[in-house]
């Protein structure tokens, strides 16, 4: 019969949960490196194994996202707008979805890449994974932002991390342009349907970096108020 109504005014901080979610998303996106290594070596068995791991992690992130939403009811008083936080969560989740979609497409079609592309792809994938890693770093500053009340030096630290994230994303754009140019030169000698899907995969990988950048700008929105 403990009268612990006082303790009930403290809800579990959604920020630590957001960080947990992002950690899983990041882990999921990181699987793209071993996945492409296997694909480029034409090792379909290993690729499928990694794809399954990606799917598992994406599922895990999805479950956590749903749980987090339930823990963020309307009557919560938070240092940031509830809607902004829910939208950020959605963007975080999209990164894992995107990793699953790209790897799923490749696995489903048992795609193999021509030599010219295979040379450029690892670096491209690596930079996109880097972007997600950097976005994770931004999200990891959320509890520090709460600690400092979303003000002062911590805001500058986060801003500089986001700045670097933008730079990484620009880098991936450059690599993407280069890969497209390479593909354009050789596409006439390749099966047209395959070429269509190569473009789709190139775009899909780049989307991971775009989503990572969007995570950064969502956090910037939180800081703006």
């Amino acid at each position: 019969m403990a009268s612990n109504y006082f303790s009930k005014i403290f809800s579990r901080s959604p920020f630590t949960a957001m960080q947990e979610h992002m950690t899983i998303v990041n882990e999921c996106v990181h699987q793209l490196t071993p996945f492409f290594n296997a694909v480029l070596e034409r090792d379909h068995v290993s690729a499928r194994k990694v794809y399954k791991e990606i799917r598992r992690l994406e599922n895990k992130a999805d479950t956590l996202k749903k749980k987090l939403r339930l823990h963020m009811p309307k009557g919560l008083f938070m240092p940031v707008a509830r809607r902004d936080l829910l939208e950020l969560l959605l963007v975080q989740d999209q990164a894992a979805n995107q990793a699953k979609d790209v790897s799923g497409l490749i696995t489903g079609r048992k795609m193999e890449f021509p030599q010219q592309l295979a040379e450029l792809l690892p670096r491209y994938v690596e930079r996109c994974v880097d972007a997600c890693q950097q976005a994770c770093k931004v999200i990891n500053e959320l509890d520090e932002l709460v600690e400092t009340g979303f003000a002062g030096r911590e805001v500058e630290i986060v801003a500089s991390i986001i700045h670097e994230l933008d730079a990484i994303e620009k880098d991936t754009d450059k690599i993407q342009i280069k890969i497209r140019a390479t593909l354009l030169k050789t596409e006439k000698n390749l099966p047209p349907v395959d070429v269509m899907f190569y473009y789709k995969v190139i775009e899909g990988i780049g989307e991971v970096a775009d989503i990572a950048q969007r995570i950064g700008s969502r956090v910037e929105l939180l800081l703006a108020k």
Binding site: S3, S7, S11, R12, F77, V80, E147, T148
Partner: protein, 416 residues
């Protein structure tokens, strides 16, 4: 056994029981914030609460007790029939006890202060007539219930803002924490000592001039600060602790401050809430002893002593468990905000104690938590629960009143 002896025994037993209930239930709200942030173990918290609730009750509980005892009811209205006041005060104690049992059984956020004031006003209106109530004083009390959470919220807001400006948002938070935390420690010690010296201590035969009071308060502040600085100097700053959460080491320094403010809030709580138990008891005992209703009669010091003992007993027997439960649930409050809440709330409560206003420590603390929330310092607060806590006193007043009217006629039927 004559009636007078029965009245005194009844009043003593009921007062002790109320004090026990306050120790068992209410202290947990005050101390929960300190345990939640893992600064104190349960044992340490119970020890601190015991010592400071007792000293608060004994040294600074006199003013509010006197308000409850003779501030709400105009005794000239009942000078002809003093036993009516005895029945009423006994009824208020029983009513408050019953209502608090029902409320805590159901987990309702009910304040002891609101219950006892509602009970006293209730029996007075029905048993003695509406004229017997000092409405101006009741108005002051009700106003203070609105003002105290707001004041404490504003204090907490500015305290936390100052912590942000001076410590957290700087290039070297650890160095600045070491520099400024002792200042906050001094402020806490000084404030508590000063209010106590100004308003308490007369009943234990210690009279100081204003100048002397300030000097002693400064001295107390300095002693507490020295102790605090000693403990801060012993903190091991380990950079590897900051890997996950960059403010882990800064929070260690705030932890020392939080121990000091935990003492302050226990002291403040004791000084204000003891009156809910011993105020009616003191009224009964003085009327029963003297046979007349006197506005002047002084209150014997041992009455506050009983209140203090009752609170400590409740704390030791049952409060430990409640503190543990509350502490487990409050995990999101780090020492840098926990201290701001506690210092703001204890300042507000101690000032109210000095002025003789019975206020709710829990409401004041909730106000402080909201203040820090407005400074964007807390992850998430449940506004529904906050609303329930504040709204509950609207139900508590009539509930306490109706119950005390019932028990008033009950006692009148038996003894009258």
């Amino acid at each position: 056994m004559d009636h007078v002896t029965i009245y005194i025994i009844l009043a003593g037993a009921l007062g002790l029981f109320m004090a026990w209930g306050i120790g068992a239930n209410d202290v947990a709200n005050a101390m929960g914030t300190a345990i939640g942030s893992r600064v104190l173990t349960i044992k340490q918290a119970v020890l601190i609460a015991g010592i400071f609730e007792f000293t608060g009750a004994f040294l600074a509980g006199g003013q509010v007790t006197s308000t409850i005892r003779k501030g709400i009811i105009d005794s000239t209205a009942v000078s002809g029939s003093p036993e009516l006041l005895i029945f009423g005060m006994l009824a208020s104690l029983v009513a408050a006890g019953v209502w608090l049992l029902i409320a805590s059984h159901n987990g309702w956020p009910v304040s002891t202060t609101h219950t006892i004031v509602g009970a006293i006003v209730g029996f007075a209106i029905v048993g003695l007539g509406a004229d017997a109530v000092k409405w101006a004083e009741v108005g002051n009390i009700v106003a203070s219930w609105v003002v105290s959470p707001v004041l404490s919220g504003a204090l907490a807001f500015f305290l936390f803002r100052s912590v942000q400006k001076l410590i957290l948002d700087t290039d070297n938070p650890i160095a600045n924490a070491k520099k400024y935390v002792p200042v906050y420690i001094f402020a806490t010690g000084f404030m508590i000592a000063l209010v106590t010296l100004f308003k308490g201590l007369k009943h234990i035969g210690l009279e100081l001039s204003n100048g002397q009071s300030y000097l002693v308060a400064i001295l107390v502040g300095l002693i507490v600060t020295a102790c605090g600085m000693y403990f801060i100097s012993r903190i091991r700053i380990d950079p590897s602790d900051d890997r996950d959460f960059h403010f882990a080491n800064v929070e260690k320094i705030f932890a020392v401050l939080m121990v000091v403010t935990a003492c302050a809030i226990a002291f403040a709580h004791g000084s204000n809430d003891v009156a809910n138990a011993v105020g009616p008891m003191a009224a009964v005992i003085s009327i029963a002893n003297e046979g007349v209703v006197s506005q002047e009669s002084a209150m014997p010091a041992w009455i506050l002593l009983i209140g203090g003992v009752g609170i400590v007993l409740g704390l030791a027997m049952y409060g430990k468990k409640v503190i543990a439960t509350v502490g487990e649930k409050i995990t999101e409050l780090t020492p840098s905000r926990g201290f701001a809440c506690q210092l703001a709330a204890s300042t507000t409560v101690v000032i109210a104690s000095g002025t003789g206003l019975p206020i709710s420590t829990t409401h004041t603390l909730v106000g402080a938590v909201l203040g820090v929330g407005f400074a964007r310092g807390i992850g998430a607060l449940n506004m529904g629960v906050v609303g329930n806590i504040f709204m509950s006193w609207i139900i508590t007043l009539p509930a306490g009143a109706i119950l005390s009217i019932f028990f008033f006629y009950f006692f009148k039927g038996i003894f009258g």
